[in-house]
Amino acid sequence: MAKEKYPNPKFFRMKDKMDWKRQAENVAEIAEICKEIARETDWKAAGAKHLKGWKDFGLRVADEARAVAKMSGGERLDLLINGEKRLGRLYKAGAMAFTRREWRGVKDTAVDFYYWLDTWKMFLLTFGKDLIPSLNGVLNYRWMISYFCAHSFMDKNCMGLRGEALRMHHIMIYQIYRYVAENIVFLNKADKHGGNSEELSRKIVLLDEMTMAQLMAGFPDLLGIPYQLMPVFLLSEIDQLACIPYLDAVESYGLPADACPVPASECGAAVIDALPICGKCFISSSMPCDGSVMASSFQDRRFKMPTFHLTFPVRYDDEETLECGVEEIKHCIKFIEEQTGAKWSWDAYFTAMKRFNQETSFELEKWDVNKTDHPQLIGPIYELFRKWNYEMDGGLDPRVLPAMKKVNKIMLKAYRKKAEPWRGKMRHRAIVWSVPAHYYANFSNWLANCWGINVLVEMEGLNFTKPLETEDEQGALEDLARLYERMVMRRHTNGGYDHVLTELWRQVEAWRPEIVIMYQHVSCKTMSTLSGLFDEQARERGIHMIWIEHDLMDPRTVSRRAMRAKVNSYMTAVMREEPLDPSLLDFEDDVTW
């Protein structure tokens, strides 16, 4: 049996029909903008700024050299072997990038560099499969530029990690990056403003925000792309400032600023034409919240594309609602068949779901390890990977399963060694509840490095783990409906307070955290409307609950610095502790990626 190739190599080879005239016009427009910038730039001031940058660089190097000189022989050896411990040095006020790469000790720096190179290799090979449309995408879409800092995203999420944890994180983020790179190539290739490949566009089914991919497993000849993932959703995790133009646009259009920035940004992206134009049809969804339900009307107005509104019952515990969910799945499949001419394949679906079930069992193994006194796979990349694997990959990509297998092997080895992902920094067990801030995706990394607060798991990762039916068709449809009803966020925020409020106390019992990092996403109505009860019940149980306000994709409302300040206050005033790394206590990163 031939090895299954994913994604279908034919998709990369489909013919482009680039509108060169339009591209030329776009380049001319950009040239005009560049000229304008050049005219308006105060070159004297820019030169002075540049010079100051070099001077600062010199001062920093001298400062670091002095710090090393002051060290004892043992400290220097430790630095050489285990790496640096004052990570605040990597930040510079007003700079988007880190001052330099982290020194992790000889071995781990080499490991880190190897994976860094490997990721670059993957990027070059993937984009090389059809480079020109993506280059055009860079000239057409502002969001494409933000992906140039993808490596920085990897660095900041791995900050402070050593040994097995570092390797596991790199393996996991590689899977996500490969998926993103491939989908960016496809989006640009099919986009009317880019490659304009009608042939590919006919194969693309666009999926609404966070709509799970599993449904597409039954259509191996089609390509399901989560439409707003690359231009909006993931982007906001990579570059904290990326969604601001979308939010400003849609608020100028009339949307109140209290709406959740996820659907608001998506609508804003539609308003300013930041979304590629491609695809045969669109699957909108009612997930996970009221705001996201409404975003589809903005999309629809722009694209006028055949749309199926995939809507599931909210009170999903009630098994009598399942029939309605199953009907939705059936009608959605029929819709895709009618629009694309493709035929649903049970064989393909069952094959992918068998993989997904195996992946779920690997996930459960991770939970088992993290529940012990020696958690191994913790940190922001694991959190992101879990969500991506559950939602976007969903067992479709056969390359992911071996990677997960490898990660679990490393994890068990590390567990046997009683290794620490953040060496010497395992002070408190914590779990994260509610919605994390996209613009501070590596917050749990800072918690560990600065205060030794180790996030074992976060709410959005705790989803449906029942193995999906892979033999009986009716049973499979029912499981698929159950799965979709319990997608990330929806699993907790829909269907009644038991799913999120009482569920927290159940998880607290299972994971034994001392601290609950309680995010308060100021625009999330489903969560904020339970804040009083969370507070009361946490007090009754004697749990340290640290409330962290944020505005998901808009760092102007609550900055990263303000988020950190909440933890700092709690740890010093209530816990009466000193930070593990004082250089991370307070620093400016308002524009840092």
Binding site: A259, D290, D300, T311, K525, T529, L533
Partner: protein
């Protein structure tokens, strides 16, 4: 115009959720079922010996305790209801028929349940699942939910007769009341209307918050009065507007708008008469509950229905009403923090202006509008712009 005979009486009924007629019905042994949303069919809450009360929190002042529980980022209507519940303002309820349609109202109902806000041992809160679109299987789903979540608990806890015959009788009474309100509403179409938007708002609102069987006679009498009512020689208003949007249970908003010279000629908002006061047609062949549910789903104008035909229906309805009632403009409003109407208002206000050619004022507003000078200024500016438009149109 001469004042309506019962207007002060009706206004008095709106001063308190537990008004004189609610107390009378309770004294007569009737069961009071509270609800907050159009997704909960009012008519089935009036079955047998039950009567429905659409919950309001008139004269709301501070919402501090509700804000502690639900944060200050949530809908003020929901918070006001919870605050009133915590104060013990809904102790007259025998049940709360809630729906999981918007997250904020769902949380409000959950708090009423968790915090034991109603001092009544048999009181229960039920949460029905509401579909997002109208197709055969979602209608079936809705019917199941209404049977399982509303009618069965009423029958099991209080022994209410929820048979087809009882439901048919409830529909008959409901249609009678809707007929009266709809007929009164027609007088707003006149060039020189014999009823103001504010008066209509009061009459319509009492029909939602009082036991129907106790308020129907006075409403009928008011209808007769309006039939013979003589308008002022010249219309009192400067322009005619319609309101489209989220929950409004405060007639003061209509009063504020009319004080600015804009007569409110149609009310396409939650708690308004479109939808809500249509006759429910029944045939003899099909199950009654299915017919009721389908009716509510089809006439619903809630933006939570996201399918394309429902989006189009909402725009068509606003356009139709504006034409039928000869409105010079439309006010799209939303209560602050309402996600559904936030998105709907932002988009529809552009669509109605650009594609349907209706001047639109787009506003978000607090639950209590009395002191809103900002809102008054915006309405005044809108009225002036409509007048300018008319003058400009005339000169051209």
């Amino acid at each position: 115009m001469k004042d309506l005979k019962h207007l002060i009486y009706f206004e008095g009924l709106l001063e308190n959720a537990n008004n004189a007629l609610v107390r009378q019905a309770k004294a007569e042994g009737k069961l009071c079922i509270g609800y907050t949303c159009f997704h909960m069919p009012e008519v089935i809450l009036n079955v047998d010996n039950c009567f429905s009360v659409r919950l309001r929190a008139p004269n709301t002042g501070s919402m501090d305790i509700a804000t502690y529980y639900m944060s200050n980022y949530s809908c003020e209507f929901c918070r006001a209801i919870l605050e009133r519940g915590i104060e013990g303002g809904y102790n007259f309820l025998d049940a709360l028929a809630a729906q999981d349609a918007c997250a904020e109202m769902n949380r409000c109902a959950e708090h009423i349940e968790i915090l034991n806000c109603v001092d009544n041992d048999k009181f229960f809160v039920t949460h029905a699942d509401i579909p997002y679109k109208v197709v055969d299987y979602t209608v079936r789903h809705y019917v199941t939910q209404m049977r399982k979540r509303v009618l069965n608990p009423l029958s099991e806890v209080y022994g209410v007769d929820t048979s087809d015959a009882a439901l048919r009788d409830a529909v008959r009474r409901h249609n009678e009341l809707c007929g009266i309100i709809s007929e009164i509403g027609e007088y707003r179409k006149l060039d020189n209307p014999t009823i103001t938007g504010y008066e209509y708002h009061i009459l319509n609102l009492v029909s939602y918050v009082c036991p129907q069987y106790l308020v129907a006679d006075k409403l009928r009498e008011t209808l007769e009065e309006i039939k013979g009512r003589k308008p002022d020689p010249k219309p009192w208003y400067r322009v005619r507007v319609g309101i489209v949007g989220s929950e409004i249970d405060d007639p003061e908003l209509t009063k504020l708008i009319e004080d600015c010279g804009a007569m409110v000629v149609f009310d396409r908002y939650c708690f308004g008469s479109t939808p809500g006061r249509e006759i429910i047609p029944l045939n003899e062949q099909e199950d009654v509950l299915t017919q009721i549910c389908r009716h509510y789903m089809e006439v619903s104008e809630c933006p939570r229905y996201i399918s394309n035909e429902k989006v189009a229906q909402r725009r068509e309805t606003a356009d139709r009403l504006a034409k039928e009632f000869k409105a010079d403009g439309i006010i799209y409003e939303q209560i602050k923090f309402c996600d559904y109407w936030a998105f709907e208002r932002a988009l529809a206000s552009h669509v109605m202006a650009e594609e349907y050619d209706h001047p639109v004022l787009s506003i978000d507003r607090p639950y209590n509008v009395r002191g809103s000078g900002q809102l008054r200024t915006r309405v005044q500016a809108f009225v002036e712009s409509l007048e300018f438009k008319r003058i400009k149109g005339g000169s051209e």
